[in-house]
Symmetry: C3
Subunit: 336 residues, 3 copies
Amino acid sequence: MFCVTPYRWVFIYEKGYQSTDTAVSSVFTKMKGVGYTNVNGQERVWDVADYVFPPQGDSSFVVMTNYIITEGQAMGKCPEVRLFCPSLLFPFLLRSLCFRWNTRGHMTGICVNTTKTCEVLAWCPVENDHNIPDPPLLMSAENYTLFIKNSITFPIFDVTRSNLVEGVDANFIRTCLYDPVTDPLCPIFRLGDIVKLSGFSFEVIARVGGAIALVIDWTCNLDLDITHCKPKYTFHARASVGYNFRFAKHYMEDKIQKRTLLKVFGIRLDIIVQSLARKFDIIPTLTAIGSGVGIFGVATVVCDLVLLYLLPKREYYKNMKFNYLIKDQMYHPSFR
Amino acid sequence: MFCVTPYRWVFIYEKGYQSTDTAVSSVFTKMKGVGYTNVNGQERVWDVADYVFPPQGDSSFVVMTNYIITEGQAMGKCPEVRLFCPSLLFPFLLRSLCFRWNTRGHMTGICVNTTKTCEVLAWCPVENDHNIPDPPLLMSAENYTLFIKNSITFPIFDVTRSNLVEGVDANFIRTCLYDPVTDPLCPIFRLGDIVKLSGFSFEVIARVGGAIALVIDWTCNLDLDITHCKPKYTFHARASVGYNFRFAKHYMEDKIQKRTLLKVFGIRLDIIVQSLARKFDIIPTLTAIGSGVGIFGVATVVCDLVLLYLLPKREYYKNMKFNYLIKDQMYHPSFR
Amino acid sequence: MFCVTPYRWVFIYEKGYQSTDTAVSSVFTKMKGVGYTNVNGQERVWDVADYVFPPQGDSSFVVMTNYIITEGQAMGKCPEVRLFCPSLLFPFLLRSLCFRWNTRGHMTGICVNTTKTCEVLAWCPVENDHNIPDPPLLMSAENYTLFIKNSITFPIFDVTRSNLVEGVDANFIRTCLYDPVTDPLCPIFRLGDIVKLSGFSFEVIARVGGAIALVIDWTCNLDLDITHCKPKYTFHARASVGYNFRFAKHYMEDKIQKRTLLKVFGIRLDIIVQSLARKFDIIPTLTAIGSGVGIFGVATVVCDLVLLYLLPKREYYKNMKFNYLIKDQMYHPSFR
């Protein structure tokens, strides 16, 4: 009887009698909530059109939580912020040598005396991103909510499901909030909760940025009722903290092209859909039986299957027999 | 002889003698066409840079078909549009209680008498999106065209194909228009046709938005001539209707930062490439034979394969034998 | 003994004793470098916020290398650039017939005498993209650098790796530059090198645009030490040259909505992560043995495995035996 257990393992636990399919899925997202900042007495609010990049509701997007703003930049010549002239550091140099350094502008070769830094042709004034605002300017982002609409189709089995499953209707959505224990099917997530469940600290990630994967897992046994095919949400920190990018808003002032430069720190969210459906299928069943026959001979396998699947009260019998057989093998003479 | 048919099924219909590969693919898209609106006597046109989000020609993008525009928004205090003061609804309240409501702005606590709504610090005037324009403002989007350039590579078989297959050259593209029956290989699609073939009504989806998957299916048998490896386009509605997002264009007026807010309703198109190439390979062939031998014994399988694949006139013989065997099985004593 | 080799092939070369897993991955990108243009004596620089689309550091983005700029467009009526009036080409026509042509604007029906072209309601003046600047305006893009941060997780084996592997630390990154031979693990790439390694000519692709796939390949045998699991970067030209899109920057001038239209030619980079991890697993081992037993009988396979894997000095023995067996088969009577 030795070796029957691995065979049964393939058949029962690896579900060798079912064929599998992965889904084609679509994801839509919508953030809600308003941020508020009061910098130097200047109040302003930040709505969705201000803090979500890109705005289309894709499965991957960034929520701005902190920023360094440089207003009124125009093309011109001005001193760099932290790029000190080599001639000041090394006084034996005759010329300023403000050349060939990879910066945010094009070196003019001139050393500006007042700042002791090189002059550049650039968007002026140049950004000074030495200090990242702490605490983050948009800590209020913690209370933003994210609504996810996800539908999947298993093409082989021709089954379509949405994350708005039975019971998750318009009424429920109006008031619910995702909670891994009490409300695991609500498709509305608080940003602070997402961050906490991924293992990050909100204050840290909001300040310097970071990336989180929100995984929607659809593992469905389609031999059961379709209502058992439900999404499961999990949250994962991706890489280490630190995520930012630069973004410019252009405008015209007195016939001069200007821009507002934002260095955006934020939470990059990627909604990832993982799916695996299984359903009884005669082909893999016969193949699995075939492999079994190859190893153990016809008689053992057929008897085994008859006992396990065809006799009445098979659920009860299966458990009994299986436990018994394991014990049987452990005490079998060939194991001693 | 019973059980030979499922074995042969694996071998012939599931193509157990071929190995498979999925492709790495790249997709470029380009919309063409101009929309025209005449709102309150103000004529304007909408070109590609106005109605496609994002503009880069990605495989996933949105074509704007309807919008609610709020012009000249600036940061300030103004009454909300539909958020009535609680003190007016419940006269026994002494204070206005315009607090803590999740809206598009930051509540100031003041109730504005003229509008009977709460005052907010927000982008003012606040958007009023109660009525969605009907008919959609950009019904002309129906006649926009979409050009798709798709190339795929099967890395294992080292085969590269493009959707501009044999016969689909620069001349053909200049005049052709995709039609599932008469022109199934033309890579230029009318937006109205895409919507119709996906099962949506254009007027409905253009008004409230919606999402469509355009699937390019490359199922190729590389044992045949490469020219048989052609794309097949299908169109699928994704989830239910209703898709919109907000988008802001910023500008400066009299030293004040302003923006034009657009609530965009549109058609989100996702170009999805599905691919599966098959080619004869000795390894899966031997494995498939091995499994067959496990079930049915060497003699049956080898004779079977010799008859089916090695004898001359095998195509003719295969059909004959196969039909005969099916009949044979059906009338075999063991089935009676 | 014939047929043992294909079986062993499955087992050893196809690694039939290992189970496999593909990774969930995340990719962040950051471009660095400044472009410089001098058009008609007007100097300007282009920084990251100007030349990367979209700005968020996604795995797919476009680096602008050439452009056609149309400044100060406003909604209005003006003559088309190259759309000559039909009545001038065919003088027997009485009316101008400037209708129903698919252009960048809405035909008014009027023929403009000075230009001999049809008048359109459009963003005026209309773009003239007949001549693509040559050499490309931003040839300096060749020296931009791309930093890639990629982390992967094999969920089944619970293994997480980053492309900043052992030895690739903050110090190393500050100075290194990717080179396929001398520095294959440095995650900083010069744009010119990427283009060259993909087989394109930088001058050509910079002028008319094109697309390149940067593939990060993680093929890992997790039975070995984890430090052997390293990324391998390869570069592939995608489709033929030619990639452009239109992009508008909006602004307000004297209460009139205007825009600057850019026809952007550039390099579209797609970072693609391919991954395959393998690890010893009892289930596929037994299945592979089972299939082997089906074909060759128990004795052959078991002896074979014992000799190959269980005896001491098995590495040495394996090579010897394997070579011997191949020779043995080649000179075996049944092959003569």
